[in-house]
């Protein structure tokens, strides 16, 4: 029983990291129909900025998270204006894939040049480091923090999309952008804001998840498939979908690692195959036919 609880807590922590990073990608795919392969690259930029802020500017962890999120959004603005804006909603998937993978390699090269090829740690503040006794086992305090961040992110996004005026406009633009335009909704602004939101979430996930997915220049490529898998299993654009996919895949991966570590990612991908076979549009996805 203790073992089951232990695996569950590790699974939830890993799942939440996947969720925070992937939800931004999911939103972009669901709303703007852009398969942003460079999403992981932006998450990585967030991680690098946080690492730099803490290690060289000696700011507090919370300030560093803020700086990383805002910094990454600022970095992403030229990409949005010059490149992404042209491919929202309409373009050929091949062009999207080529463009965003190009951006990924570009960012990897630049990051490698500026920060060097070695792994960058993001030092945790005293309150978040070290083990914490949660009754049936010791758990890294940081994992609890990650789980909390995931829950807060999910709730905040749900409120934003379901309960605010911005959310209403956003959903209108998604369902029928032409009609939304005709009714006076500035869809290009909605898209720009959503892009910033998606990138910001990616950066946030990159920073808080750095203990589990360490920050190094090839981060952007190494975890690209994992993030894409979460989105396709959950269904593009669905918060609930991304959340349940993250938790399910986190559980499959963690259980697999515990019971049969020599199988590597086998159980992760096995569960992906099964889920996608049963739900071709993802758990909570809608067909965009």
């Amino acid at each position: 029983m203790r073992t089951i609880f232990s695996i569950m807590t590790d699974a939830v922590a890993y799942g939440m990291v996947l969720f925070i990073i992937s939800i931004g990608l999911s939103i972009m795919m669901g709303l703007m129909r852009v398969v942003n392969l460079a999403h992981g690259a932006f998450a990585m930029i967030g991680g690098y900025l946080a690492s730099y802020a803490i290690r060289d500017l000696h700011v507090h962890y919370s300030v560093a998270i803020l700086m990383a999120v805002i910094g990454t959004i600022i970095v992403s603005i030229p990409f949005e204006i010059l490149l992404y804006r042209r491919i929202y909603r309409k373009s050929d998937p091949l062009i999207q894939v080529l463009m965003t993978i190009g951006i990924t390699f570009f960012i990897i090269g630049i990051v490698n040049f500026i920060f060097g090829p070695s792994l960058k740690s993001i030092p945790l503040p005293q309150t978040l480091s070290g083990p914490l006794d949660i009754g049936f086992r010791m758990l890294p305090t940081h994992r609890i923090f990650v789980i909390a961040c995931g829950v807060v992110t999910a709730l905040a996004l749900w409120l934003l999309i379901e309960k605010t005026e911005f959310g209403i406009k956003l959903r209108a633009s998604v369902d029928h952008s032409g009609m939304a335009d005709a009714l006076g909704i500035r869809t290009e602004i909605i898209y720009a804001v959503t892009f910033a939101l998606a990138i910001g979430l990616g950066a946030f996930g990159g920073v808080v998840g750095a203990e589990i997915l360490p920050i190094e220049p090839f981060y952007a490529l190494r975890y690209m498939v994992t993030f894409l898998v979460v989105v396709s299993v959950g269904g593009a654009g669905s918060i609930l979908g991304a959340l349940s996919a993250s938790l399910l895949l986190g559980l499959a991966d963690t259980t697999g690692k515990y019971l049969a570590p020599e199988f590597g990612d086998f159980f992760f991908y096995l569960s992906v195959i099964v889920i996608v076979f049963l739900f071709p549009h993802g758990l909570f996805g809608r067909s965009h036919a």
Partner: protein
Amino acid sequence: MNKGAQSILALAILGLMTGTASADVIKVGVIGTFSGPYALFGKNFKMGIDAWVAQNGNKVGNHTVEFVYKDEEGPNPAKSKALAQELLVKDKVQYLAGIYFTPNALAVAPLLEESKTPLIVMNAATSAIVEKSPYIVRTSFTMWQNTVPAAKVAFKNGAKKVAIAVSDYGPGIDAEAAFKKTFEGEGGAVVEAVRIPLATTDFSPIMQRIKDSGADTIFTFLPSGPPTLGFVKAYLDNGLKAGGVKLMSTGDVVTEPDLPNIGDPGIGILSTYHYSVSHDSKENAAFLAELKKGGASLDEVTMTSVAAYDGARLIYKMIEATDGKRDPAKAVDAVKDMKWISPRGPVSIDPATRHIRQNVYVRSVAKVDGKLINKEEQTFADQPDWALSTK
């Protein structure tokens, strides 16, 4: 490669060799990880070689020595083989050196006899590599060499039940076998043996598994780089250290550049290794001073710089012995039984295995003058590769 292409390559190389004998520049091709997650170790190859050249000049007799560097990136045997071919055919190198990963070294080995080129392995640590060609000499270490003392120390420190966790590739499997054999030979029990895929970054489930096995000590090996830090942090943060489970490892897991990231909770972690940056000797002090003069940061020094420094010494000796001619048998014979004082301590080349014999130190992570170091506490003198030699 088919037979026809092979003989063409052999002919091409033969043709080139007659060309190089008269030339007065002797080229040495160094294959190392100069980009990607393991770039620090390739950089250390270059730092070590540069230090040797700075101290000894770039001339041996009237031959000028030139080092040509190529990037092996990661564990990618096909790429390393292509790089070695390029160095042999295009750059006409007379010696090959470097190589961080075992699979890459194994891919290069078949080219050596055909092209009559000695290879000085400066890292790759699977025992079997030196058996793949009579022209391979190794100046780094092997897993057996460092692990056998680790198992002895663990047993002496009172470990009864050990969990082994290693990376699932050549050196990891060597480390597992070496520890298991030695530790069980001493009378201990191995209660768990986990092989971790190389790409793993989240070690929490593995720590949980080890905890459930009831082990009192963990022995681990992972290749130095991003995974090692994650492993040590998972060990500390999942409460294993607080719960009294000891961590024993080879030094790969606690390289000096990683210690600041592990932080104070890491104090007391035991490891066995052939080189510590803090090794107290005048040779090491001179070596570090030379690295610093060459522009290197002392926070970045790892074991690969020493292996490269000593490797360059062997290459100079080989060039001297062959007077710049391509004669691999004579070159390798010249360094067999060579003895010298390296920055890591007294070392020699074992004539039977062409692998380096050296001291293996038992170290524990300690804080000295506000800096975390691997403090040497005990010495196992003159250790061979225990997989290839028995004494």
